[in-house]
Symmetry: C2
Subunit: 490 residues, 2 copies
């Protein structure tokens, strides 16, 4: 006789590459995003929340660095044969929304958006398949005044969330200058242009001599592998090197160096003029190079954007996994891109914007001690006498009405030790106790759990006697005493 | 020769059943949710944000009223053969999270969660496939003190977001009382019990006589169709009718009526005792029947929950689509359910909670005028002289530093009329104008657009002369004058 098969229980696990956020992880992010939304709103940007789901057709093949359409997204087919997918960023939905509502939206349309996006990629350490993005974009404004506004807003935003001036810099570069450099080099063939772009992207890692080798014959990398070069003549590399190393002591010097690098390229000249306008606009508003600077060594994103490119870097040092000091690095980036809406309407619409890496910025704020990495739990009113539940609930109601986070212990009250263990697990600052004896005398016991823990750890008997961590007060003074202790703990 | 096929442009449309939210629609919801989170937090509830994606296995067949597993969800298969799906509510993920982390979480675990959920259902008017939920649940607390706490918190929450006392009532019922009623009726067979439950659900629509008919021989409904009855004897219906109509002048009367309805059923007695405890706990804390009341006519959800059941109803009247007056109705519901975690662990864990219908509550607040349904736009600094962009950007920076929402017009400045049309579209309260003449004289023109619109609509020539809507002030007084006008508009 065959054994009857028992239905196995489902596994209680988060899907691979996804994670859950608890307590302060949720509230800290919400607070940071609310602060950012406040700055964006003050700059005249309007909120937009598009649906998480888009048609695959509308999303298109827009994800950078992915060749196959739909690769990298979570997609499924509807019964009626439409393919739907979860958005992979907030820019593709903006393009769809702007194309869909362009007759009703103001032009220029300034919008901000914040929310989760999904990537169907192999997860790795610290790399999840759902994460938050926080974007601001201006659609329909061709002038670089829109770009300089984004840079100023980014600077204001970083300071508003708690990154001190001096701990960050917003760097600005321009894709058109690079195009001018390619012209000055005489590199006109698309494949070769792409190869030069890829090489430039490696400047951070391989430095000037490395870039020279890679533009020329090739290079033996650290692992011993030989990397083929682009095959340019030595002299052809000069404009690129001049471009990458053009940063001078101030914006004027940098612009002079850039002009030299691009030779007589028209597009290059346009790019340098744009950078100059941005520098002037920002200088006039008091955004000095301590906050925003022209920096042609910013190469990330140059392949993707069509005009000005910006990147916010945090300049303070942290220790990496191996204990080595390194700069915290990039927390936001953006730039100007013009083909966003064209896919839908056939008309090019200028757009510029920035995206903040929410998790990285949160990590930076934790690193700088700007947010406490643990939250204070509620005041716990313990249950000494099961029949007095109404009394205890009245106590917490009084505390809450005074704005104090408070709760009654709702587990099995039999074992008092469990109640204190619970308070400990909740990181409660205070426990309130009233048994029948205290009730008869009209008093409550108030236990300072933070001080109690400190004393238990460090104090001598003398100190312990001098600094009691438990107080008996008349019932009517419950709220006042709790408030006093909380203020002392803050 | 075949014609070359041109790739058609993608359609810029939101997928069927999904929608986009703009500006104040986003911020008003965010503000309401932040207020609710504040109340929940003060009650000791911790935030939880689980991922939007769950394994189909973990979600299980939990969606009420759906028979096929996975029906009603958006699901897709991973390359490695796992099926994933978007969550359809916030309770199923809570069950998974609690089962997964139960050794690390405090017991009881109070958590709140807010965010979008997805339903793969046929969309209809006002019925979307992505919408927000906002839940609070207490897991691991068997006592009805946990249920009464949820009711008190729901009452506090409604008042905190702007529903006045008297405009809502939280009604409480208990599934165990209904079980007692079934016992008193002598209905023990499961199929028949389910049929009685379905009939009770129709009480709102068909009234007492309708319920009698449906429990007995059947009923001719309004459309002329004959609905088969459950086939009970007339006398058997009495306990149900007694139950449904047991609401008395006060809680004590209601409880007396309920005791009569359940006869000597043990489970029914337990249910009535629970309701009595809840009533006593709430009365002791000052939550009178003007806020929370025992009401056995609350039948929604009785089939789903296992103990106390609650529903928040807004009692003020609105006009429906057909212009008829009706009560606004339900905005939140919840109750106790005990099998939540058992699927995963085999162990029953008591749980109770509430879910707020975010969109309905927002609609109610708009109805009551508690939130403005349109947002004030930014102050717009117009561009009279393209070369003075830095000057204009400095003006908006000054305004923003004073906390005023402000922006420079970034479209093509050639046509000044377009700039004012833009300000109008943005619902801007004020436009600031400085041409070269004003610049030379060190002044700015400040246009009160709200007053201007009012005057244009209503004023006589005399009034128009007396109440100028445009002011010339020294450049140094820009911020002060704008502030003064904004305060006058508020």
């Amino acid at each position: 006789m065959a054994k009857q098969k028992k239905q196995p229980r489902p596994k209680a696990i988060t899907p691979k590459g996804f994670r859950d956020y608890f307590g302060h992880e949720v509230t800290e992010r919400a607070e940071m995003l609310a602060t950012i939304a406040g700055v964006y709103h003050r700059y005249g940007f309007d909120a937009l929340e598009s649906s998480a789901v888009e048609t695959v057709e509308a999303l298109g093949k827009f994800l950078p660095d992915v060749d196959r359409p739909n690769e990298g997204v979570f997609a499924w087919q509807e019964d009626d044969a439409d393919w739907l997918a979860l958005r992979y960023d907030l820019t593709a939905p903006l393009a769809r929304v702007y194309a869909q509502y362009r007759n009703d939206l103001p032009t220029p349309y300034r919008r901000y958006a914040m929310g989760p996006v999904w990537r169907n990629e192999k997860p790795g350490p610290g790399r999840f398949r759902q994460f938050y993005q926080c974007d601001a974009d201006t659609v329909g404004a061709p002038s670089v005044a829109a770009d300089s506004e984004i840079c100023a807003m980014l600077s204001d935003t970083l300071e508003a969330v708690g990154i001190a001036r001096g701990d960050y810099v917003v760097r600005v570069n321009n894709r058109k200058v690079l195009n001018g450099v390619l012209e000055a080099m005489g590199v006109t063939e698309e494949g070769q242009q792409a190869a030069v772009l890829r090489t430039i992207d490696k400047f951070d890692k391989v430095g000037e001599s490395g870039v020279r080798e890679l533009l020329g014959k090739g290079r033996l990398d650290a692992s011993g592998a030989y990397i083929d070069g682009v095959g340019l003549a030595d002299a052809q590399a000069e404009p690129v090197i001049a471009f990458l190393t053009s940063k001078g002591a101030n914006a004027a010097d940098t612009l002079t160096n850039l002009r030299a690098a691009i030779g007589d390229s028209a597009i290059g000249g346009e790019g340098v003029a744009e950078l100059e306008q941005i520098a002037n606009l920002l200088a006039a508003q008091g955004y000095g190079p301590d906050r925003i600077e022209i920096d042609p060594s910013v190469v990330r994103g140059l392949g993707y954007y069509t005009g000005p490119v910006f990147e916010a870097e945090l300049t303070f040092e942290i220790l990496d996994e191996k204990g080595r000091k390194r700069q915290f690095g990039s927390v936001a980036g953006g730039g100007r891109y013009d083909d966003l809406v064209k896919r839908f309407t056939g008309q090019a619409v200028p757009a510029t914007g920035v995206s903040i890496g929410v998790d990285r910025l949160l990590a930076a704020l934790r690193e700088k001690g700007r947010i406490r990495s643990a939250e204070r739990g509620p005041v716990v009113v313990t249950v000494m006498d099961r029949d007095q539940m109404a009394t205890y609930q009245t106590m917490v109601a009084e505390l809450r009405n005074a704005g104090i986070r408070a709760e009654v212990y709702l587990g099995n009250p039999k074992n008092f030790g469990n109640q204190l263990k619970y308070a400990d697990k909740r990181q409660s600052p205070i426990a309130v106790i009233q048994g029948s004896d205290e009730a008869d005398r009209g008093v409550v016991q108030i236990k300072d759990l933070i001080l109690g823990a400190q004393i238990a750890e460090n104090a001598t008997l003398e100190e312990w006697k001098e600094r009691p961590s438990q107080f008996e007060v008349p019932r009517g003074e419950l709220v006042a005493k709790v408030q006093e202790i909380l203020e002392g703990q803050a």
